[in-house]
C-alpha cells in the first residue's frame, strides 16, 4: 500500500506538450504511472506521448476520468492551472512549477477552501512517488525502491539524497512526498504524517525539514500525541545566518518559532530521533 498515489491513480499532465512536461511525462510512463491524458490549450484533439491532449482540464476529466494531475506550466499560468484542476473535480493536484508569486498562492489557497476534496502538493516541489507503482513530478525513480519507509520533505535534492541512502541500505519507501519549500503551499508536514499514520504499509517515517515557518513544529505536536511509526527527523539550515530583517511584522507573528533549534526540540520532545546530517538518517531508523 501507499498514500495518495498508486498504480490505479488516473493521472493528467497539465502542460504535457511543453519541454519539461513532455520529458517528465515519459519518465512517469516508464515507471508505469497510469497517465490518461494531458492538457494544452489550443492543442486539444492531438495525441502526445501516446495519450490524448485536451484544451481544458474539465474536458480531460469528462473524457478520461482523471483524478490526479501534475502541473508543469510556467509560473504566470500555474495559479490558474491549480484552480482549474480543483474546479474540474481533480482530487490530487501536484504543482511542480517554481517561482509563483506568493500573493497568487494566497488567493489559490483561499479558492481551494471551496474544494475540500482537492489536495494540493507544492508548488515549487519535486512531487511524489510510490516506488514501483507510480509518480507525479520529477523524483527520479532509479534512487527509490518499494518498502515500508514513508518520506516527507520540504527540499528536493535532500529528498533524493535520503531516498538514495535508504534504497542503498535495503530500506524501501512506501511513498515519498516532496511538499515544497515555498512559504505558502498545499499539504503540510502534518497533513502528510497523518496519512502515513493511517497507512498499514508504512512502519517508518523520515521527515526532512528546513528553517522557517512552523510546519515542522505542528507535525511534531501531532507525533507527540502518540504514533506507531518509528521516526527520524532532519532539519537543514541549522547554521544558516539569520535573515537581515527589515520590519517587525514577521517577528510579531512568529516569535521564536521557525528556528532549527525550535524544530529539533519539538521533534525530540515528540520522541522523534533527530539526525545531525542526512548521512545519519538511515542508521538512526534501524
Amino acid at each position: 500500500m501507499s498514500i495518495l498515489l498508486d498504480r490505479s491513480t488516473r493521472v493528467l499532465v497539465q502542460g504535457i506538450t511543453g519541454r519539461e512536461g513532455g520529458f517528465h511525462t515519459e519518465q512517469m510512463q516508464e515507471l508505469g504511472t497510469n497517465v490518461v491524458g494531458g492538457t494544452s490549450p489550443g492543442k486539444g484533439g492531438a495525441t502526445h506521448l501516446g495519450v490524448p491532449v485536451f484544451n481544458t482540464v474539465a474536458d480531460a476529466v469528462k473524457a478520461t476520468g482523471a483524478n490526479a494531475t501534475g502541473i508543469f506550466v510556467p509560473a504566470p499560468f500555474a495559479p490558474d492551472a491549480i484552480m482549474e484542476a480543483a474546479a474540474a473535480g481533480i482530487t490530487l493536484i501536484v504543482c511542480i512549477t517554481e517561482g509563483i508569486p506568493i500573493q497568487d498562492m494566497i488567493r489559490v489557497k483561499d479558492f481551494l477552501r471551496g474544494y475540500p476534496e482537492a489536495r494540493l502538493i507544492g508548488a515549487n516541489c519535486p512531487g511524489l512517488i510510490t516506488p514501483g507503482q507510480a509518480k507525479i513530478g520529477i523524483i527520479p525513480q532509479r534512487i527509490t525502491s518499494p518498502g515500508p519507509v514513508g518520506l516527507v520533505s520540504r527540499s528536493g535534492t535532500l529528498t533524493y539524497e535520503v531516498a538514495s541512502a535508504l534504497s542503498a541500505a535495503g530500506m524501501g519507501q512506501s511513498t515519498i512526498v516532496g511538499i515544497g519549500g515555498d512559504p505558502v503551499l498545499g499539504l503540510t508536514f502534518r497533513d502528510v504524517v497523518e496519512l502515513f499514520e493511517k497507512d498499514p504499509a508504512t512502519t517508518h517515517l523520515v521527515l526532512i525539514g528546513e528553517i522557517g515557518g512552523s510546519d515542522e513544529e505542528q507535525a511534531a505536536e501531532l507525533l507527540a500525541r502518540g504514533s506507531r511509526l518509528k521516526a527520524v527527523a532532519f532539519i537543514s539550515g541549522r547554521t544558516a545566518p539569520e535573515g537581515k530583517r527589515m520590519g517587525h511584522a514577521g517577528a510579531i507573528i512568529s516569535g521564536n518559532r521557525g528556528t532549527a533549534k525550535s524544530k529539533e526540540e519539538a521533534f525530540r520532545h515528540a520522541g522523534v530521533a533527530v539526525a545531525e546530517t542526512t548521512d545519519e538518517v538511515v542508521g538512526m531508523l534501524t
Binding site: 509563483i100 506568493i102 494566497i106 520529477i138 515557518g213 547554521t239 537581515k244 517577528a251 507573528i253 542526512t278
Partner: protein
Amino acid sequence: MKLLEYQAKEVLASLGIAIPPGKVAPTPDEAAEAFETLGPIAVKAQVPVGGRGKAGGIKLARSAEEARKAAEQIIGMDIKGFKVPLVYCEAALDIAREIYLGFTVDRDARANILMLSGKGGIEIEQVAEESPGAIARLYPNPWRGPLDFELTQLVYDAGLGDLARPLVALIKKLYRAIPEYDALTAEINPLVVTANGDVVAGDAKLEIDDNAAWRHKDLEAKYGSVIEGDPYEVEAKKRSLTYVSLDGDIGIIGNGAGLCMGTLDLVQRAGGKPANFCDIGGGAKAEVVENALAVILMNPRVKGVVINVFGGITRGDEVAKGVVTARDNLKMKLPLVVRMSGTREEEGRKILRENGIEPGASGWEAAKKIVELTSVGAPVTGTATTGAA
C-alpha cells in the same frame, strides 16, 4: 526586493498616504540645502534593514551645518553589512501619538495578516511579547481585500476608535500595495499623529515579492540599482544565480536550496566556515557552474571551494566535464572538492580523477576534505585532491 525608506514612501504617496516633506541627499551639501527648504530635519540613513536608529543612522539637525555634519557621518557608514549610499532628509514631526500599522504574510495561516496597535514605535516587538492583546489583527479575504466594517472593528480592537474614520481610509490605501505591487510586507512604524491631528507615515518599510518582479518591471528599473548591497551578491544577480554572501572562507556550490543549505551545515560541522550560499538549481550545466565559480573566486577571502551536486536525472559525466572546463577557463588554483552522484556517476568520477580533482564520496566526506585542504598548514597544491591545474 526590499525598498529603501524614501522609495517606500514614494510608493505610499502614490497610494494616497500622507508622508512628511523630504529630500534625498546623496552628498552632505545636498543635506545642507535640504535644511534651507525644510527647516529642522531628521537626517536618515537609507538601508534596507531594520535597526538603523540604534546603529546611529538617524540624526536630528537644527541648522544647515548640523545637517551637513550628520550627512558626512552617515553616508558611507556600514549598517549590518549595507554601506549607506545616501541620506533622506525629512521635516521633523511634532509627534503627539505613535501607532503601529503593518501587514505581512502569515506562513502558518497561508494568508496576509493586518496588524494595528496604539503602542507604535521601536519597542513594538516587546509589546507583542508582553501584551499581545495590544495588537489587533485581521486576516482579509485575499480576493476582495478588507471591508470597511472589518477595518472599523480592527481600529476599535486596537483602542483607536477616536481615529476610526482616518485610519479605515488609510489602511485601505496601504492594503492596495498587495494587489498593485505584490507587497509581502508593508509597515508604517510609527504612524504619527501630529500635534495638529494629521496622520502621517513617520517611517515606511516595503518588501516586494521577487517572484512577481515580471509584473513590476517599472519598480525594478526605478529602484533596483540604488541599493548598494554586497558586491558578490550584485554580481551573482547579474549572472542569475541564487547567491548569499557569508563571512567564512570556503566557497559552496550546490544544486537545490536544501542540499546547498545542508552542505553549509556539513562544512560548519567539519570545522570550516562557509563563504557563501550558492544554489545553481537543477541540471548543473557547465556554463552555470562556471558562473558560480567565477563569482565565488572574486572574493579574496575564499581559500577553497566545495561543489555538491546530487543528480537525479542530471548526468554525472556532463557535470564532471563542466566542472573541469570551468576550473580551466578560470585558471583556478585553489583546492576544489567535488561531490556528485546521479546517472553515469562512475564515468563522472573517473573524469574528475583524471583531471586532478578528488571526488568526495558523500557530502560529509567532501566537507571534511575541503576543510582539511584549506586549514592552516595544509598543502595547497601538489596533492591529488587539489584543483591545481
